[in-house]
Symmetry: C2
């Protein structure tokens, strides 16, 4: 049976990425060697990471002021690297918005290193909306926000004007829609949603903002290290980055961000229309802040839970369970999820309504 994979991450990737990856694990580009056993310094390995970097630049129209790097440790290590690179050693302070679990983790790491001003929060309503109308102070070292909150199903539809450098965790919606990179100073994203398999992180850095903190930054945590070494400061995760490269090539061949934006909008419209139409369900996020990547919804009558779960599982749907902080259901609709899978879920919801509505 075909599986409709709504996993929140690591998540569905295109079938052709799996196919090419599987082949390269046995024989990388006809070299007779597995991609797992070659030196990361070999010319054909170097080409992989160079291509992946160039594809990010091309797909996102990264301006020359910015550089693209691949590192490891997930967004969780970026939470640490951001204050190391941008927060002044003496009297350092930064402004953060608190829009979910990951924003809270980012805040916690920055607080170890300086003063954090939480200038807006949606904690009062269990993060079911995106705060707006706040002012970013001009005396902080940087402003940090999270563009998409996977767990709570909210997404920033616009970004505030900022008098200070802007840092954004785009882990769960990078490359899903157009972004004007020139308006950001640091964008980072764990790969395991729209970029590729788990095991690498992409960071897009405005080179101008670095080197101003007075900190003695550990080499691995210094964005400049990875910029200077073309992301090959130490052995980079060859398999993971190869997966990213293949996935970005797929996206480019498809028509890039303009085309995937249309597809993602169509999927989200289909999904939210059914959540709103169906008498048995309620969406959990404020309508204007709904995420195109993760649609969160609950049953109005929790006693029907077992019945609904049985139905969607029978239809081949997997990983639809909501995060424990929200409960209910979460349909993650990342780039590689076909609209057919959303249609299957919508059909199941309709069928469920007919039986129990």
């Amino acid at each position: 049976m075909k599986i409709h994979n709504f996993s929140a991450g690591p998540c569905i990737l295109p079938q052709e990425v799996f196919q090419k990856m599987s082949e390269a694990v046995l024989d990388f580009n006809g070299s007779g060697s597995s991609i797992m056993e070659i030196s990361h310094r070999r010319a054909d390995a170097q080409e992989v990471i160079d291509t992946a970097i160039q594809l990010v630049k091309d797909l996102m129209n990264v301006p020359d002021t910015h550089e693209v790097i691949f590192t490891q440790g997930g967004a969780s290590l970026q939470f640490v690297m951001v204050p190391f690179n941008l927060m002044k050693l003496n009297g350092g302070k930064a402004a953060y918005t608190e829009t979910g679990a990951w924003a809270k983790s980012a805040i916690k790491e920055a607080q170890r290193m300086g003063e954090v001003q939480i200038i807006a929060s949606s904690a009062d309503k269990n993060f079911n909306y995106v705060p707006k109308g706040y002012t970013i102070p001009s005396d902080v070292d940087y402003f940090h926000c999270t563009s998409n909150n996977t767990i709570f199903g909210t997404q920033m539809k616009s970004f505030p004007d900022s008098p200070v450098p802007v840092v954004c965790d785009m882990s769960s919606d990078i490359l899903s829609k157009p972004v004007d990179v020139s308006k950001f100073d640091v964008i980072y994203a764990g790969a395991q949603k729209n970029m590729g398999p788990a095991g690498s992180v992409v960071t897009i850095v405005n080179k101008e903002v670095l080197g101003k903190t007075g900190r003695n930054i550990p080499a691995y945590l210094d964005f400049q290290t990875h910029i200077d070494k073309g992301s090959a400061f130490n052995t980079w995760p060859v398999l993971a980055v190869y997966g990213v490269m293949l996935n970005l090539q797929w996206l480019k061949n498809l028509g890039g961000v303009p085309e995937i934006t249309k597809r993602n909008q169509a999927k989200a419209e289909l999904m939210y229309a059914e959540i709103d139409r169906n008498a048995l369900f309620t969406g959990t996020a404020e309508v204007e802040d709904r995420s195109e990547m993760n649609a969160t919804f609950v049953l109005k009558d929790e006693s029907l839970k077992a019945e609904f779960n049985k139905l969607w599982k029978e239809a081949g749907i997997s990983s639809l369970e909501g995060h424990r902080d929200v409960g209910g259901y979460r349909a993650s609709m990342y780039n590689a999820l076909p609209i057919e899978s959303v249609q299957v879920l919508v059909d199941v919801m309709k069928q469920f309504e007919q039986k129990f509505g």
Copy 2:
């Protein structure tokens, strides 16, 4: 033509690991999903990392006092994590031996955070030996050494008694020979030699030595975080750890460390016997400190370089070039390299001597 892969890392892994990995990329254990698209929180993914951790414990006889964790960022990030976890915030100091390029990098990171005493160094002879007879001070926070120096072809054959916690970078010889883990407080190793593909690091930590520095450690850099979360603090690199698990299963089925020790000794004896016998070559490392993992040697007459390179390349040998810091050649003979490949190289060296000796 069969390739004889002497790469210094990422390096050769067993063919059955490539085969199983290639299959799992298309269909993980008959689940219908690629291992690249499943949540790391799913039960069958959890089993992968739990099994990998247990295999390290079993294969290395890790005592109950110690825990095994998998993280990312390579040994380079461990260079940072070690002082964060073991060097006191106030008046912190540590003793390091300087035995090669990686030891120097480890020293550099510790120096950012406290006082480093280099208690022994082989820098005077371009790291071609392992210093001995030094005394570890009793007033430092820890002692750090590198068990195998990949670039220079030297290896510690015994470890000094220490009045303070012992930290060892075993990136390039872990699981190649018996180690009494109880004598170490932190052992770490980038996976990409004897453990698996690039993209994960194993750390074996004596839980007793943690929490004593007075530092506010960033969550990702705190060994305790990963111990508490069973290495699933954040999304772990599923592909990379799955490769480690498969490789450790291969090692276990083979007979574990006792069996691989015999094989590695046989390979090293064959290799060094030829280096010593052959009139056209000289080994670069002191005989008593020679590494069983990386045999470094040079041509006595550099003008024959092109001729020798032609011969070994024709024989299907790959990645035999020495590191630029030593020059000449480096035969890396990690666990998965069959003795047949060493025999091919030895035959080429004999043939070369017959033609040009």
